[in-house]
Subunit: 646 residues, 2 copies
């Protein structure tokens, strides 16, 4: 096993000033986090009630009141806390810190003496806890608490929340595990596996890793825990009669026997991300090899070009290889993020460009499309083709919204995006144990790292993803030997690399070039990634993209919107020989590069519904493409990523 | 109003020997009708229980037992009786006639003294009758009884069943109508309107026509009867929260204010068919003009090329103009038939080729596809594109079956198809009051008609729809003057016409040519309809057919099947210049003309899911098309009507 084992740069040590992420992160800091705190406190008029803080207050004995909301309501608070903690690293804020500490205090107070925390069971019937692992999300919430507690510890250095998390982790380890007297269960919604590994990495406590491994190994073994639990407890089983069954939970058979991604797409990728972390920390090559195969099945057969996954609204689930409908895609914001987490964990096992390529594809396209420009409205579902009339009149598309919504009753996506954007630097750079600095994403800004005992300041500049020209000033406190691994994206055909103006000829090794040298103050790395507009084609087995083309420039996937191109986008054709003009438009949609070219439009309106005359007289028509991630910011209208080829 | 007012030829007077319909009618006679009688009597092992005859037996007091099945279960028997009656006209059968008479006896015995018949309420709580017109189908069943009773009367000359029907009609007229003390209701599932007009035409009783007109006029008036009934009776309203609401029943506003077809497709077309019959019999030009507009909205914006309607499984309903998804089509067998009934009624108002064209399109394609070769298995849903894997793994397509089923719990389609095929000659020829003989469909065989007091024998020969060469020997008992109207199908660009070898140059007038002459024994009409293979294109607003082509020859729409063309039919392309070879294959699929031509297949299997290389190296591949109506008779496999253009 080629262990990568990178550590992130602290968010505090990475001052981001980036053409893409700065705006998004400011939206998270200024709008998403404060808004969500108000929402969690039920102080937003007109918004769906959360009940989240009220639940904790009642569980802590500070107020009366019944549990409100979903069984996984607690996770909304934990994800908010994680986002808030990451945000505090790079944007200190006394009020936010006070709110965060108040949340920690409440959770600690709500925690039962044996370590259990889950407001649903504390406020209903505690004797029923752990009786519905299949559907009641206690372990899911736990996982989010662990991730939040680790973030809080990293941000503040305080162990208050980490102590709560560890106490809960010890409780779970006392209830579940391989010993005969324990429950041989595992979560219905995976997430705790990754949380446990993060807790293990933060504390070094082997028991947490062991428990994560147990959950991965035990899942899907016969007799099936969920089946026995359902019978024993008289629980319901929603997916019983459909085509999914226990595959909805990835629990129909052991992970090692699962040959392709199945079931609920968020759960599946959380499972794979957790399993990759376990594989890395336990040195399990067999598990990693199996995850490599699931990775390929996911990203090479069931991923949208936007990096999104989950083709079907039914079960919010994967369907089957090459089934990627654009207009009925589920492509939940959380599912894209989950795939990015899977990618990030695989990248920690082995430094392969394909992992970073997918991570980048999600983070610049199908995940950030989940939020509007200001961070005040959100998509749950991220389709690749929308006709507003169809979303209203065709029940099959009723899950597709043509306009982002303020908030959701099931508010999983906004805080998930917030925590990811707030910690984007963790995805951008990793420092390996051998001091290799791995530049996965070109997030511009200044960051410092301790390399072989020497502080090194990196100043990364450029207008990525709008330009492929990147310069990095490397400023060590003293000359120091280390390797700087620079990712050459999979979309980049040609690149130039210089150090201090001197051309370096290196072929990428699995997606990275390695600059190994004694670095001295004033060193300048200049990377020029060619970024032509690319016509992208889907594998011919993808029925829904047959005869169509998508447009990409650098990591950015483009789309056509009605606002620029009129109605009936399916009537537009993109000729093979049309040349694109790329235009930087600083005042459009938060600042984007638009693409335009000559296209064609099929006419023939006067014709019968069916006739022997093909649609003719293709008029020339200027086509204007905008980045997919900013679609639906100019009112309701049609949108499509895939365009017909002429 | 140009009243057409044609009368059909008696089925007994039309001996069919047709290349298309003979096989289908024999399947109906030999298999569908006997099988269904057994099913109605619950004597088919393994089939869904019907309970139909048992319900009538219990209602007649001949046995104990509770009502079984849907509230509209009675209609299955009535539709079977109608099919049986029509079948008896051209294929006398003592056993079948005895069974039919037994059914009549049972129904008459079950009828209450006041005329009411509906086993659901007779066997449950008679005090609740007429309390849920919206959903409880009493009037729907009634309509089918009226149609069956008229067929029984035409077939046997006996009034036994007609008496039952009239007694029920009088009962309904005493309960519903404009008078203040009556219910101001109308059926939730239309059908009684057409049944009442047929009863009126068979008996001359004006009250039945008045009631049909009342139902048409009252429908959708505010305050809404269904709304008041729902409130008054505490009924449920399934469609309340969806996009359909009362439009599901075409009751959201008066018919005259409905601008496009909406809601449940069978109901909508039954309503329009009934309204057309009312318009004709009442001379209501305004209503007819409005129906012309609904006809255009239906057939020129929401009809599949197979003649089918109902784009969405949700509500088995129409969606919106030009929304014609192929792979999730509902296109219920009954909906196609309902459109044929609408067409037939419009054709009785005015002789326009467009009505006969659509009627022919349905009857040769999207309706008869509902039955297998032997008449032992049936489709409810008639999609235009099927990938078996998708029907199993994609919940959106779970209503689509890749293989016909033996029977259904809701068994509306098989008997509907049976009654239509058994009376196909009614659709083929009509005799107008001025003795014009209207040849709408070229159903080969011998028929006789009384024209101006003279018996005339017509011997229609040819291999239609496989050949466009038709000869008709006209044999009057004595020389007689009349007009023979021959339909020139809309698909036919060129035709030749001779009488006794002498060329007749006539341009079609609204789809018909009129031969007016003194006919004498030995006259021979020869019609040659050019029948080249035609590439058909959808209106450019049809998103799902963009860039695609369908193949038609004469009235027959073709498809590609996996059995002939392998998997992944979406990878096949039909070049514009490929020439077709048409082959008569007597031993294939009951005898069909297949079409073949050179096509292309996209390769590129080795490529990534997304790449900058378009699928290339298009291999030449022979494409084999079969008639759509015989698809899925050779095991499970892919099928598509629309093929990509190269």
């Amino acid at each position: 096993m080629k262990k990568n084992f990178t550590q992130p740069i602290s968010g505090a040590a990475y001052r981001v000033q980036d053409a893409f992420f700065s705006r998004l992160r400011e939206a998270v800091r200024k709008n998403v986090i404060p808004y969500q705190w108000e929402a969690l406190n039920d102080r937003v008029p007109g918004a769906s009630k959360s009940g989240c803080i009220a639940n904790f207050r009642a569980a802590a004995g500070e107020s009366d009141g019944e549990h409100y909301g979903y069984v996984f309501q607690d996770s909304d608070l934990f994800k908010w806390m994680e986002a808030a903690a990451y945000s505090l690293m790079w944007a200190p804020d006394e009020q936010l810190e006070a709110e965060l500490e108040e949340a920690v205090r409440l959770i600690a107070k709500a925690q039962l003496p044996d370590g259990y925390v889950d407001t649903y069971y504390i406020l209903t019937d505690i004797s029923k806890r752990w009786t519905n692992l299949k559907d009641h999300h206690e372990l899911y919430c736990t996982g989010h608490m662990f991730e939040a507690a680790v973030a809080h510890f990293r941000a503040t250095g305080r162990r208050t929340f980490l102590d709560v998390a560890e106490k809960l982790a010890r409780h779970i380890a006392s209830v579940m595990g391989p010993e005969p007297e324990k429950l041989h269960g595992y979560p219905g919604h995976e997430e705790v596996e990754l949380g446990l590994v993060k807790l293990y990495e933060a504390t070094g406590e082997q028991a947490y890793l062991d428990l994560a491994r147990y959950f991965i190994d035990e899942r899907g073994k016969k007799p099936l825990y969920f089946e026995e639990e359902t019978r024993r407890q008289g629980n319901s089983f929603y997916w019983k009669d459909g085509p999914l069954g226990y595959a909805y939970y990835q629990a129909h058979k052991p992970l090692m026997e699962q040959e392709r991604p199945v079931g609920h797409a968020v759960r599946a990728n959380y499972l794979y991300a957790g399993a990759a972390a376990v594989a890395r920390c336990t040195g399990n090559d067999t598990l990693y090899a199996h995850l490599r195969s699931l990775w390929a099945e996911t990203t090479e057969k069931q991923m949208y070009i936007t990096g999104q996954v989950g083709s079907s609204e039914y079960g919010e689930a994967f369907t089957f290889p090459y089934d990627l409908p654009n207009d009925t895609a589920y492509a939940e914001t959380c599912a894209g993020l989950a795939l990015a987490f899977f990618a990030a964990q695989m990248l920690k096992v082995e430094r392969r460009g394909e992992y970073a390529d997918v991570m980048e594809r999600v983070l610049y396209n199908g995940a950030v499309s989940g939020m509007d420009l200001e961070g005040t409205a959100f998509f749950y579902v991220n389709p690749l083709e929308v006709v507003p009339e169809a979303t209203r009149e065709d029940q099959r598309k009723s899950h597709v919204q043509p306009v982002r919504q303020k908030w959701f009753g099931c508010a999983c996506c906004p805080p998930n995006l917030a925590r990811t954007l707030a910690s984007i630097t963790d995805y951008a750079v990793g420092i390996a144990a051998d001091h290799t600095v791995c530049q996965h994403l070109y997030v511009a800004g200044d960051f410092t790292a301790q390399l072989a005992g020497t502080g090194v300041r990196f100043a990364l500049r450029g207008e990525y993803p709008w330009s492929g020209e990147i310069t990095i000033n490397v400023e060590p406190e003293a000359p120091v030997d280390f390797t700087y691994a620079l990712r050459i994206p999979g979309w980049c055909g040609q690149f130039g690399l210089t150090v201090n103006g001197e051309r370096i000829d290196l072929a990428p090794d699995n997606g990275y070039v390695y600059l190994t040298r004694r670095w001295v103050s004033g060193d300048v790395v200049a990377l020029a990634l060619e970024m032509p507009v690319q016509r992208m084609y889907a594998h011919p087995a993808v029925r829904e993209d047959a005869g169509k083309v998508a447009v990409q420039r650098g990591p950015i996937v483009y789309c056509l919107e009605e606002a620029d191109n009129g109605k009936d986008l399916h009537r537009l054709l993109l000729p093979a020989q049309s040349e694109f003009t790329a235009r930087w438009q600083p005042d459009l949609l938060g600042g984007v590069v638009t693409l335009s070219c000559k296209g064609l439009r099929e006419s023939g309106d006067a014709s019968r519904l069916y006739s022997t005359q093909p649609p003719t007289a293709e008029e020339e028509r200027e086509l204007t493409f905008i980045p997919y991630y900013v679609w639906a910011n100019r009112g309701e209208g049609e949108m499509t990523v895939w365009v017909r080829r002429a």
